[in-house]
Each structure stands twice: as structure tokens, then as C-alpha cells.
């Protein structure tokens, strides 16, 4: 077996391998590598979509470093990421545990929980605008507050909508993870006299480690790149209180035609996401080893 694995490939095998890999390589080069390299190049230029990009070196990065609006946007993004991901995962797990058990009613409830996730975001946003409007449902349930028109409330109002929208998706992922766990482990825990809460924290949660990792990586990268909810619900306002980094990037690129500066923001965001993803995967690997 070892002999077979280590023998060198014949010319025809190598060509076949290259041919099979070609579509993936072409796709990666055309749609990932080239745009990323183009963005990296543009980040060192001044470009407004007309004429030729003008080389400005590190000027865009210097501007970004000195720009209060950029740093305000970074703070909003971090707040948004932490408070969108944390509560979403906790709520999703709490909801998923009872729903993972078999039964027709539970299957029906799983479908129900998933509805917001499949709703078009535009429609969902209009719904939440009505809920948050003066005299709307939010005022009726929680008292009159300037949900979308006060900087102190707007980010939380946005987060509530985002959690509502995406929690169903993570419920389904956790349900799948829970259903894949072996029943023997839980039976053994029950025989040992472990109560429900103890079983949950000492058996269920550790066994769901891989599901957690997947959910955290997907949720954090999704939240850090999130643009549409803030764009639709608050347009980044009031007074930029909900201007997440991708929205700041979008405004610079498509509203102000500052593509060089916007590319620099994109590169910073990309680097931050890569660092996060590598750290995450490194932790998983060391855990597995």
C-alpha cells in the first residue's frame, strides 16, 4: 500500500489530475485571487472609476488611520459582531436542545423557527421598521422609545432584528449536530445519575465542539461582513451609530467613488477576518491533537 502511495505519478496521471483540478483553479484565480490582488493594488491608488488609478502609496492607509469615522465604524462593527454572534448562538442552542428530539410537533416547530431565516431581508426590514416606528409594536410592548432615531437605541434595535433573522439558521445547524450525537453517551450519563443541566454542560456542549466551531466561524465572519441589515434598517444612522465597516466601505466606494480608499478598508477587513479564521482553526487543531 505504502509503495503504491509513494510511487511517482505517470505523465498521463499528472495531466488528468491537472485537467480535473483546472476548473477549480480557474474559478479560484478568476473570482478570488485576481479580484483580491486588484483590490490590493487599488488600495495603493486614488481611483474614482474614471481614467487610470493613480499610485498614492500608503496614503489611503494613512487617511484611514487618521479618520475618526473609520475608527467609529470599527467600534460599531466589533460591538455588532460580539452582540450579534453571542446571543444568537446561546439562543439557538437553548432552542435547539428540546427541538432536536424526535416528534412531529418538534419537526413542525423546527420549521417555524426557520421562517425568519428564509424571509427576504428587504421584507423583514420593512416589517421591523413598522415595529420600531413611533406608536408601533415595540412601543406597545416595551414602552415608547426612539428605537431607530437615537444613537443609544439604534444599534440594539438593529441587533434584535439581526438575531431574530438568523437565530433559526443556527438552530437548524445545532439540531443537526445534536441529532448526530450518539444516544449511548446520554444513556450512560443518565445511568451515572447526571441531571439534565449537568448532562448539558458536561456532555452535550463538549460533544458539540465541532458544531460550535463551525457556527462561530460562520457567524463571526458573517457578522463582520454584514452590510444589508444596517443599510436597509438605519442607513448607518443616526449620526453613524450603526455604520458598520462594510457599510462605511460601501459608502466610500459607491456613494463617494473613492475606490482606492474603499479597497484599503476591504484589505484591512480581509486581514482581520483571515487572522480570526487562522486563530480559530489553529485552536481547533491544537485541541484535536
Amino acid at each position: 500500500m505504502t509503495r503504491v502511495m509513494t510511487r511517482s505519478m505517470t505523465g498521463s496521471e499528472a495531466r488528468a489530475g491537472a485537467g480535473l483540478a483546472a476548473p477549480a483553479i480557474v474559478y479560484f484565480v478568476l473570482f478570488w485571487a485576481l479580484p483580491a490582488l486588484a483590490a490590493l493594488y487599488l488600495s495603493f491608488t486614488s481611483y474614482d472609476l474614471s481614467g487610470t488609478p493613480e499610485w498614492v502609496g500608503l496614503e489611503n492607509y494613512r487617511q484611514m488611520w487618521a479618520n475618526d469615522e473609520f475608527w467609529a465604524s470599527v467600534r460599531v462593527t466589533l460591538l455588532y459582531t460580539v452582540f450579534a454572534v453571542g446571543p444568537t448562538i446561546v439562543i439557538a442552542l437553548v432552542v435547539a436542545v428540546p427541538l432536536a428530539k424526535p416528534g412531529r410537533l418538534r419537526a413542525w416547530l423546527r420549521g417555524l423557527v426557520f421562517i425568519p431565516a428564509v424571509m427576504p431581508l428587504v421584507g423583514a426590514t420593512v416589517l421591523w421598521q413598522v415595529i420600531y416606528s413611533t406608536g408601533g409594536l415595540a412601543d406597545t410592548l416595551a414602552g415608547a422609545h426612539p428605537w431607530l432615531t437615537d444613537s443609544g437605541y439604534a444599534i440594539w434595535a438593529l441587533l434584535v432584528m439581526v438575531i431574530w433573522k438568523y437565530v433559526g439558521l443556527y438552530v437548524i445547524i445545532f439540531v443537526a449536530g445534536l441529532q448526530a450525537l450518539s444516544a449511548n453517551v446520554f444513556e450512560a450519563a443518565a445511568i451515572d445519575g447526571a441531571r439534565a443541566l449537568r448532562t448539558f454542560f458536561l456532555v452535550t456542549v463538549p460533544l458539540l465542539r465541532r458544531t460550535f466551531t463551525f457556527v462561530i466561524v460562520v457567524a463571526v465572519t458573517g457578522a463582520m461582513q454584514s452590510f444589508v441589515p444596517a443599510y436597509l434598517l438605519t442607513k448607518g444612522g443616526p449620526v453613524n451609530a450603526t455604520q458598520v465597516l462594510p457599510l462605511y466601505l460601501y459608502n466610500n466606494a459607491f456613494s463617494y467613488s473613492r475606490f482606492g480608499y474603499a479597497s484599503a478598508i476591504a484589505i484591512v477587513l480581509l486581514v482581520a477576518l483571515l487572522v480570526f479564521a487562522f486563530t480559530q482553526f489553529k485552536l481547533i487543531r491544537s485541541d484535536e491533537e
Partner: protein
């Protein structure tokens, strides 16, 4: 697995290589209009989607094509929020539509990038630009002029008015036939009209163009400017700018919320006054069928400061033709046809959009009060700064206005921040 002969592979690749140029050739060769040949061929026209407008323009396109059967107008109605982005992409890739209807505030950016063609008087049968201008109302081309060059034909031409709720005035013991004529009166009446969650004047917040339209009469009426376009300096950190900012910050309640902003609050009667365009006469009944123009709400000319000159703010949309248009002659021909007296009248009646041709205010559909007020205000209407960096500059204005009205910054600090932002943007 059967091996594919190398010859077949090469043949396939060659065919694939040929396919693209052949496909490109397929779309060429269409006839285009000229003075000699007359209007003909396809014209691709992009405009923003609005139900009443779409219906009207579709009907007009059909009518035009019956009159000029060699022409095919291909309209694309784009959601308003996506129009500029879609246009920018089309211009960048070198395949813009022939004809576009855009907000005039974006003209400077497009013109500075050489994306749009200057208005050709000859295509309108005019001997000169002045002759063409004489066919339109005073000030009609002001918003469509960049560096002394006119680029388009106005449509949806508006000057803002003061809209007020007659019912709210009556409830507060005020005479609904005497709307405030000065900004000082607006504030005074606003205090009387503020009870509980109801307010007097409510600005349209969180929107660039409305930030400018609401604020411009205040600062310009005091003798200031938002931006001095010649020097490239912001004009808020001046006595006039700060006074205007402070006044702006005292009106209304920024914490009130509605899915359609200040329009919705006015339609419900939550606010008693609104600074808005002529379209408000049809928008408010659409939002609240109980609101009737002349009974529930009404319009007045935009107020001025006591003892100061009158200043109104205005905006216009315009028909522009791309510099790289494939069929510019026919595109301008269609615009000229749309600007005929009969079409202007039908357009105003069907959509509420004004094309300010000379004498438009005497047309049967322009007998309403708002149209007459618009005509009265036109000579002193200012369309705001004409800058390639308009969007970024006015976003900085919006930030300044919001920080003041939300009490996050004193007017002086917000003014200084705006002027610093303008210095950076226009550097």
C-alpha cells in the same frame, strides 16, 4: 474512460474562442438616428422605478414608437437606491445606456468624469443654447449646468414649499389660512403646535438630499453658504452657519420615527409642518387616504427670515445622454418630443412631475396652488452646491445636522467638524 483525442480538444477550444467575438458581432450593426436619416434604431433608457412614472413613460414610449416606427425605446426602471451604483458600473465598463434620467445633484460627478454629453441645441432644432433655454422657464437649467456647460433637459423640477396641516392649526386655535411666512413664525407656531408626541415642524432626517433641501433656505437666507465652491471651503463655521444650525436643532423631535420618515409623520398629523416638494400633494393622500389637500393639509411658499431676502431650495432631475451613447441623436429626439407642451401637461397630470417649459404654469394641469407657488419661487430658488464630491459633502452636512438635532454636539463644534470635513473632501 474514453480518451479525448488532442485534435478534438483543440477544435473545441478554437470554437469556444470564436464564440465570444461572434456573439459580440451579433449585437452590432443596428441603425442609428441622424439629422439626415431621422430618428431610428434602439435607444436604451434607464430611470428610477416609480409606479406612476413607469406607467406614464411606457404609454409615452408606445405613442412615440407609433409616430416613429423605426425607433425602439428600451426602458429599464431601476430601484432608486440602486440607480447611481448601476450607472457607475455601466459607465466604468464602457457600456452605458443611451439615455438616463438622474438627479441633477449627481451631474457634476458624471460631467467631471466625462461620462455625459453636453446638450446639443441643434438636435432640438435651436440655433443656439440661449434659444433652447428660452423655450424653458427661468432657472430651468441651473441645476443641470456644470462649469458653464449645460448637460441635460430638466424633468421633475421642484422648489420646496412649506406644507402644513390645516386640521392641526385649527386644533391649536391658529388660522389655517395664515401659514407662517417667516422662520421666526415657524418656530413660534411650532411651540403652540407641540403637545405630547405632536410637534410643529419636522425635518426630513437621515437623507442627504433632504438634509440639503431643508437646511439651504436657512443658511442662504441669512446670507451664508453651505460650501463656497470657488474656494472649496465649508461655510458652516460662520455666524450665519451656526445660527442656521442652532435653529435647525431647535425644531421638531428627531426621536419620532416612521417607515417613510417625516412624510409619514406629516401624513398622520404627528407633525404639523413639513418642508417638501410639489409631489407632497399626491404623496400625503397616498400615505393617509383621510388627508385631503386643501382641507386637511395645504401648502405655502417656503418661509424666509424676517427682513431678509427670500431663498428657496430646489432640486431637479434631468434627461442626460451618455457621451458613449450609441444612438445620441434619437435619444435627444425622444427627450425633445417628451418636452412638447401636450406631453408636459399629460406628464404633470399623470405623475406630478414638472418639465419647466416656458408657460408650463398656464397648462390645464398646473392650476393647483403648489404649481403656482413653485412658479413664484423659481426666481429665488437655489439648487445647492454643484460639486463632483456632492454626495460626500452633503453626507458631512447630514452628520453635522444630525449631531446638532440629536444634541450630541453644540452647533459651533458641528460647524467646525463640517468645515474640516469639507476641507478634506475638496482637497
Amino acid at each position: 474512460m474514453t480518451a479525448i483525442p488532442r485534435r478534438d480538444l483543440l477544435r473545441g477550444a478554437a470554437l469556444l474562442g470564436l464564440a465570444s467575438p461572434l456573439a459580440a458581432c451579433g449585437s452590432g450593426g443596428e441603425p442609428v438616428g441622424s439629422k439626415e436619416a431621422g430618428p431610428q434604431g434602439p435607444v436604451i433608457a434607464w430611470m428610477h422605478h416609480e409606479e406612476a412614472n413607469d406607467k406614464y413613460f411606457n404609454a409615452k414610449i408606445a405613442e412615440y414608437q407609433r409616430q416613429f416606427p423605426k425607433v425602439t425605446i428600451k426602458p429599464l426602471y431601476v430601484p432608486i437606491a440602486n440607480l447611481d451604483t448601476k450607472l457607475s458600473t455601466a459607465f466604468t465598463t464602457g457600456s452605458p445606456p443611451d439615455l438616463i434620467k438622474v438627479g441633477a445633484w449627481t451631474l457634476a460627478e458624471r460631467a467631471s468624469k466625462g461620462q455625459v454629453a453636453p446638450l446639443p441645441p441643434a438636435e432640438f432644432g435651436a440655433g443656439s443654447l440661449d434659444e433652447l433655454k428660452s423655450r424653458f422657464d427661468t432657472n430651468a437649467f441651473a441645476a443641470l449646468t456644470y462649469k458653464d456647460q449645460v448637460y441635460g433637459v430638466p424633468i421633475d423640477f421642484n422648489s420646496v414649499h412649506l406644507w402644513y396641516r390645516r386640521d392641526r392649526f385649527e386644533q391649536a386655535g391658529l388660522d389655517p389660512d395664515k401659514p407662517p411666512a417667516t422662520w421666526e413664525e415657524v418656530e413660534e407656531l411650532g411651540r403652540k403646535l407641540t403637545t405630547g408626541s405632536q410637534v410643529g415642524l419636522q425635518w426630513q432626517l437621515a437623507d442627504n438630499i433632504w438634509a440639503m433641501l431643508n437646511f439651504l433656505p436657512l443658511i442662504n437666507g441669512l446670507g451664508g453658504r453651505i460650501v463656497d465652491e470657488t474656494s472649496g471651503r465649508g461655510g458652516l463655521n460662520t455666524p450665519e452657519g451656526i445660527q442656521a444650525l442652532e435653529y435647525y436643532g431647535r425644531q421638531g423631535n428627531p426621536r419620532l420615527s416612521d417607515p417613510v420618515g417625516a412624510f409619514g409623520l406629516f401624513a398622520k398629523g404627528t407633525s404639523a409642518m413639513l418642508v417638501s416638494g410639489r409631489f407632497t400633494s399626491s404623496l400625503i393622500p397616498a400615505l393617509n387616504p383621510k388627508a385631503k389637500l386643501g382641507e386637511t393639509f395645504d401648502s405655502a411658499v417656503v418661509p424666509s427670515w424676517a427682513g431678509k431676502e427670500k431663498v428657496a431650495s430646489g432640486y431637479s432631475w434631468g434627461w442626460l445622454v451618455a457621451k458613449k451613447a450609441k444612438n445620441p441623436y434619437t435619444a435627444w429626439h425622444f427627450v425633445n418630443w417628451l418636452s412638447s407642451s401636450a406631453n408636459v401637461d399629460q406628464q404633470l397630470s399623470a405623475t406630478g412631475l414638472v418639465t419647466p417649459t416656458a408657460g408650463w404654469q398656464k397648462l390645464p394641469s398646473a392650476r393647483d396652488k403648489a404649481s403656482q407657488q413653485l412658479e413664484e419661487q423659481l426666481p429665488y430658488t437655489d439648487f445647492g452646491p454643484v460639486l463632483p464630491q456632492w454626495t460626500e459633502t452633503i453626507k458631512a452636512l447630514l452628520d453635522a445636522l444630525e449631531s446638532v438635532i440629536h444634541k450630541q454636539r453644540p452647533a459651533k463644534d458641528a460647524a467646525a467638524a463640517f468645515d474640516a470635513a469639507v476641507a478634506r473632501i475638496l482637497k
